[in-house]
Point group: C2
Chain length 259, copies 2
Amino acid sequence: GAQRRRVEERLRAVRHTVAVMSGKGGVGKSFVSAALATALAEAGEQVGVLDADLHAPTAARMLGVSGGPVEVREQGVLPAIGALGVRVMSTDFLLADGAPLAWREPKHEKFVWRGTLEAGVLREFLGDVMWGALDVLLVDLPPGTERFSALAEFVPSLAGVVVVTIPSDASLRAVQRSLGVARDAGIRVLGIVENMAGYVCGRCGGLAPLFAGDAAQRLAAAAGAPILASIPFDPAAQVAADGGVAAPAGAAAAAFVAL
Amino acid sequence: GAQRRRVEERLRAVRHTVAVMSGKGGVGKSFVSAALATALAEAGEQVGVLDADLHAPTAARMLGVSGGPVEVREQGVLPAIGALGVRVMSTDFLLADGAPLAWREPKHEKFVWRGTLEAGVLREFLGDVMWGALDVLLVDLPPGTERFSALAEFVPSLAGVVVVTIPSDASLRAVQRSLGVARDAGIRVLGIVENMAGYVCGRCGGLAPLFAGDAAQRLAAAAGAPILASIPFDPAAQVAADGGVAAPAGAAAAAFVAL
Ligand SMILES: Nc1ncnc2c1ncn2[C@@H]1O[C@H](COP(=O)(O)OP(=O)(O)O)[C@@H](O)[C@H]1O
Ligand SMILES: Nc1ncnc2c1ncn2[C@@H]1O[C@H](COP(=O)(O)OP(=O)(O)O)[C@@H](O)[C@H]1O
Ligand SMILES: [Zn+2]
C-alpha cells in the first residue's frame, strides 16, 4: 500500500534497478557488484549501490566508503559517496565497529521477528534513501533467496538479476536452488558472471586451475542468458578490493551496458 | 522443558559435541568439517556430523552421502553412514534434488516463521536422530550467529566451537562480529583453523599467495585459543571434496584430538 508507493516515488528517477545475487556466500558477489559499479561509473553512468546483504555488508568497503556516519535530512537519508561518485547505502554505516546486526527481539519470540525486521531494512533503504537521478541502481542481495519476494514486491519495475557464480558444482547446485524461486517471483536473469575462473599465479604468472567445473556455462544455457564476464582470481585485486579499490571490470561493464 | 530433556537423553552417549563455525560463507567451513570428521575417523574415533547449515547443506556430499533416503524407525531417524563409518544427518537428504529449503509459511506472515522453523530443524536433528555412542559429534553451523542461542540452549554440555577463517580482513571482521555473540551465549572457542592459506599452484607447484592478511593469528590471540591447522587451497582437494572424498587433515585432527 503506502510503503510501496513511497518506494515507487523514490525510485522514479532511477532508470534501471538491477539485483546481484549468488547461491552461496564467498563466491565474490560483492567483489563483482563493486567492480561493476565502478566500471559503469567510469563509462559515465550515474550509479548507486544498495548493500542488502545485511549480515555481511562488504560492498561499501570495496567502494571505499566504510563506517561513514549517514546524514539524515527532512526529505530522507543521504547515501555515502564512493569513488567516481558512486552512491552507496549499507548497514555497514549503521553497525558499531565489529558489532553484529542484532535485533532487540522480544526474548521469548527470539526467532520470530528477524525476517520481518530484515525485510523492513530493505524497504527503508529503497524508500527512504535520497538516491536522486540514477542510470543504474545495483542491489547487492544476501546469498540465497531470502529477499527475492520482498524485492519483487517493492520494485515491480526491477530490470532483472545478475547471477554471480564460481565454476564448482556446489555453486551450480546452490544457484539452481535459487533460480527456481526467482522465476516464481517473476524475476528475469539478465546474465551470469563467472568469478574465480582460474588463478593468476603470483609466482609463475600463468593462469592455473582453481575451481573445477562449468557452472557458468550450464546456468547460462538453462536461463537463456549470456555470460557477461569470466573473471580470474587475482591476489593483487583481492588486496585492492579489501582496501577500498574495486577491481577493473571493463569487459563485464561493456557487456552489461549493452543489455 | 520436555524437548531439552529429549535432546539430553539422545546425546547421553556422545562424549564431545563440538560446533564448527565461520563468520561468512565460502571460507571452507564444510570442507574443514568433512576433513576433520574423516581424519578423526581414521584415528579410530566414532564420529557424527550434523549439517545445521540448512540452506547450503554441503558437508554430506563431501562425506560421500548425498540425497540418501533417510530411514525412520520407531525410536528415531537413522543417520546416513559415510566413508569410514562417519554418521551424517543433513537437510540434503530431505530436499528434492535442486529444491530450495522453503517453508509453507502463512502467506501474509511470510517472514515470521522462518527463524522458528529453522531452530526446530536443529532441535529435531539433535533430539530425533539415533546418533548412538559417539566420541565426537561435529555440528556444522550456518555462517554467522543465527543458531548459537538455540545450540547453547539445547546442548548445555557443548564442548565449544572451532572457528574456520580465511586470512582476509573481511573474514576477520565477520568472525569478530560472531565471536561476541558466542561469548554472550557462553560458548568457548576451542581453536582456529586457517583455510585457503596460500595456493598450491597447479602449474609451477609452488605455494603462491591467495588471500592477504593475518586473520587467524589475530583471532587466536583475541580468543586465547590455538591455531589448530593452516590449510592451503589445493585444486586437487577441491575436485575430490566436491566429488565425495574429504581432504586429508591429519595435522588438524592430531591438534584437535589433543584438545
Ligand atoms: N576475482 C577475484 N580476484 C581476487 N579476489 C577476489 C575475487 N573475487 C572475490 N575476491 C575476494 O574474495 C573474497 C570474497 O568475496 P566477496 O565479494 O566478499 O564474496 P561474497 O560477496 O560472495 O560473499 C573477498 O576478500 C574478495 O576481495
Ligand atoms: N583448502 C581447500 N582446498 C581446496 N578446496 C577447498 C579448500 N577449502 C574449501 N575448498 C572448496 O571451496 C568451496 C567452498 O568450500 P565450503 O566448505 O563449501 O565453504 P563454506 O562451507 O564455508 O561455505 C568448495 O568447493 C570446497 O571444495
Ligand atoms: Zn604458479
